[in-house]
Structures are given as C-alpha cells and as structure tokens.
Amino acid sequence: MLTKRIIPCLDIKDGRTVKGINFVNLRDAGDPVELARQYADQNADELVFLDISATEQKRKTLADLVLKVAAALDIPFTVGGGISAVEDVAILLQNGADKVSINSAAVKNPALINACAQQFGSQCIVVAIDAKQVEGQWKVHLVGGKVPTELDLFEWAKEVAERGAGEILFTSMDHDGTKEGFANSALARLSEAVNIPIIASGGAGKMDHFVDTFTHGKADAALAASIFHFGEISIPELKEQLKQQQLAIRI
C-alpha cells in the first residue's frame, strides 16, 4: 500500500541551514547535509530544501549543496527557492535532486511548467502554491504570501496539473506558523480538483494534526519545519502514532 509521507523542510541560506535547528547530536547545526542524514536515519520519507538566499552566487551555491546532499542521502529530496528557468531545473536535477519545486516563476510564466515537464518529466516537477483566504476566497499569493494575486487556488491547481506538474505543495498562509493544524478543507477540495499528489504545508503543531490532514484533508504527504527542527515532534514517534491510527505509514 502506498504510504503517507512525512517531509521535513530545511530552509537554506548561502548553503547553510538557517534558524530553528535545535537537534541533539548535531555537531554543526548549520550543515544541511548532516541534518538531512539525521532525518533520513529517523525514517523521514522525503526532504525539501528551500533556498531563501538572495545573493548572486545563489545558483552555484545551491547546485554545490545539492551535489553534497545527493552524495550523502539515500531518500528522495526536492529543491526549491527562486527557480525561474529550465536551465535552473536542469542543473539541480543533474546534480542529483529528485524533484524541483517552482513557485512564483510558475505564476509569472506558466509555460515554464510545460517546458520543464516536457524536458524532464512530470515526476520531478513540483509546483508550490502559497495561498490565503481573501473575503472567503482562496487566493494565490507570491513572495512568501506577501503579494496577492487574482488567481483562485483551485483554478490554479487545475491549471498547473494540466500543464504537467507532477505534484502540488500547498502552503496555507492562514495556517502557517499557527501550530493549529493544516488547512484541511481546502486540502480536501484540492484533492477533488486535481488527480496528482498533494503535499500539505502550514499549521503543524501536534501529532493529531497529521492524522487530520491525512484523513479529513486527504493529503498524500505532510510537510513541516520548526516542529521537527526543534524536536517538538519526533518523526519516529509521529510515524508510530499515525500507524496506530490505521494510516499507511513506512516505519
């Protein structure tokens, strides 16, 4: 049976993990490779690296990091953050990333999704969508939720799937950071709207939230950052609890 995935997300700046890493047994909390390995050892199903640096060196630094991660990691990982061209995708995949995540660039230039899917296959193209509710309507936002667009979340999700995205990473800006649970009704609607896997992101605070997003939210995977980094939720315990709730989980 296909299992539900647990995905820690690592924020990367200039090749280093930033903020909020509070892991025991880490010699260097800023080393993304070491942290990634720890998560793999804990049975994380996948990892996401989100590059938030804004330097001119960014592309090269990220490509170098991807190579190091690929050398060390034997589980799949996705790389995102500022990817805006087919060439960006090519270098990251060549260096060993399994998937790339495209966000703002897909909104600005939707044909990028088609181009990437045609060249590399849908299986490695994740489209990240940040959205929040504006007067009761879910609207897509850019730049980490700061810039609103007119795009309806569900219409946009359908469009990216039609253009060849293999997966959607949906972050609810209304839930992100609240620790009050994932945006399960929107997630369930997304799963009805499209027939590609959906990763739930934003709002994880306790183990029950993961149960809820896999059942009520119909999510295929759930992503979180700080609760894992700070050790508030341990992945082995979380997976054990999910399994007890009769969810398909890889232990």
Partner: protein, 195 residues
C-alpha cells in the same frame, strides 16, 4: 569490477552513481557499445517519457545492443518498462526482451504514484536479505502488469509488477538508489550477480 550505466540522456543518473559509490563501486556512464559489452554488470536507467527514451536509444543503436547483452542487466523505473515489448505511453514498442504491455494507472488513483509502497517478493536472488514486505520508493504513471517474469509485486489501483527477471535481465520499477537501506541491499545483490 566494471559497472556500466547506459548513457542515453535518461535524467537523474547522479543519485545512482552516488549510491554505487556508497557501495564502493564506480558506475561508468557510457554509450560506447564496446564498454557496455565488456562491463561486468550493466545498469539501464530511465526517467521521463517512453517514446523519447526509445528514440534516443535507437539513435545510438542501443535498442539493438541491449537485448544481446550477456552479463546481468538491471533496468530501473522506465528502464524496466522498456524491457517489455510495448508501452501505452506514446504507443511505442520497447526492447521486447520480455513479452508484456506497459499500461497507465487508472484515474481511480492519483497519477503519478509518488512515494513509498510495500514490495511483496519471495526473496529471489535480487531480493536476498530484504524483508518480504519492504518499502521502496516509486514515482511512475505507467506500470507493468503481472507477468510470468514478475518477481515482486506492489499494489496501487491493482496489483502490478515492481520487479522482473528473465535470464540475465532484471528490472525494478522502484528506485533502489532512493530507497534507503533496502534499496542499497538490492543494488548490492545485483552487483553480486555475475555472467
């Protein structure tokens, strides 16, 4: 030991090379028939669409070479599917080493299947020291139905083949290079095979 990875522009090869390196083996990426023929083992990777992959193989004459290889050959993901004689994906003929038709998952399930699924097998050589119900990482939209050559099964919208074996030809639908320790064990088992 010489391990050849067939080079026909099939996408993410780097992870496979790294996985082999972790086992102390260098995978030589090559499209040179001479090198491929003399290698101890050959890995036939694959990602993306069946039709463009077959076109690339044909352009380099590799579609003729691969079926004639005598050493252990491991097709991975699309590489396994192309061992079959036909794929619905792009209505294309495969290498025809195994008689079987590759089909698309139904819309009853999300396509592509993406993630870790249980692999049921009865510990043939390729699966030695791997638990009978281990998890492996899969990403695919098309599948090989259950055939006489099937040596491992998984279930998505229906039971289907996740590993095949005919003579010296092996195929796995999952990505051993991305399937943690069990995947590593499978690669090691493959490397232990000889002509």
């Amino acid at each position: 030991m010489e391990v050849a990875i067939i080079d026909y522009g099939a996408g993410n090869i780097r992870s496979l090379q790294f996985a082999l390196e972790r086992l102390g083996v260098r995978g030589h990426l090559t499209s040179d028939p001479e090198q491929i023929v003399k290698a101890d083992q050959v890995i036939f990777p694959g990602q993306g669409a069946a039709q463009s992959a077959m076109n690339k193989l044909k352009r380099q004459g590799l579609d003729q070479l691969i079926p004639q290889l005598k050493q252990p050959v491991l097709g991975i993901c699309l590489g396994m599917q192309l061992l079959c004689d036909y794929s619905e994906e792009g209505d294309v003929e495969g290498l025809g080493i195994i008689q079987g038709k590759v089909k698309r998952f139904s819309d009853q399930v999300k396509v592509p299947q993406m993630g870790w699924n249980t692999i049921t097998q009865n510990q043939t050589t390729l699966f030695q020291n791997i638990k009978p119900n281990e998890f492996m990482y899969l990403v695919h939209s098309y599948f090989v139905p259950i055939l006489p050559e099937t040596i491992a099964i998984s279930t998505y919208d229906q039971p289907y083949s996740v590993a095949l074996n005919k003579d010296n030809f092996y195929g796995v639908q999952f990505h051993p290079e991305k399937s943690s320790k069990a995947g590593q064990q499978l690669l090691q088992n493959f490397l232990n095979l000889s002509r």
